[in-house]
Symmetry: C2
């Protein structure tokens, strides 16, 4: 069992109203020092068996077709934890 | 300028209907090998200045009070990129 993480973030040129709402709320709660906030999604996929290059290619395809909207979002795929995580970097 | 990332995930004992929906859609799209999916949120905070321990403590507080619901969600804070990211591990 291994875990592959897909991070999906709005593209830089796309407005991000959720992030802007968080950014606006921070000073009202007494927080300072944050100049921008972007909010995206994080998917944790539990993979049956080992994470090979073929599996990662499959996850990339999932990210592109199901997990993100490539018109407005970027995604990044990475393996989490232990030895596999180091090897994948 | 540095970037601090806050990952917010539903606690393991909490039902995650969004993740379940993704998990159910994968076989219909011809994907196999994924045994579980959890969906959470990812916040990218741009920090003005250096990321000190004090700043990280502040971000932890943001994560606990604004970015997550500690009753149903876990969060993790980490620094992204470059030298700072290595030092913070």
């Amino acid at each position: 069992m291994a875990r592959v993480v897909v991070d999906v973030m709005p593209k830089p040129e796309i407005l991000d109203p959720q992030g802007k709402a968080v950014l606006g709320a921070l000073p009202r709660l007494g927080f300072s020092g944050v100049t921008d906030v972007r909010q995206g999604k994080r998917f944790e996929l539990e993979i049956d068996g080992e994470v090979t290059d073929a599996v990662l290619a499959e996850v990339e395809k999932m990210a592109e077709t199901l997990l993100s909207n490539p018109v407005i979002e970027n995604y990044s795929v990475h393996v989490e934890d232990s030895v596999t995580a180091e090897a994948a970097r």
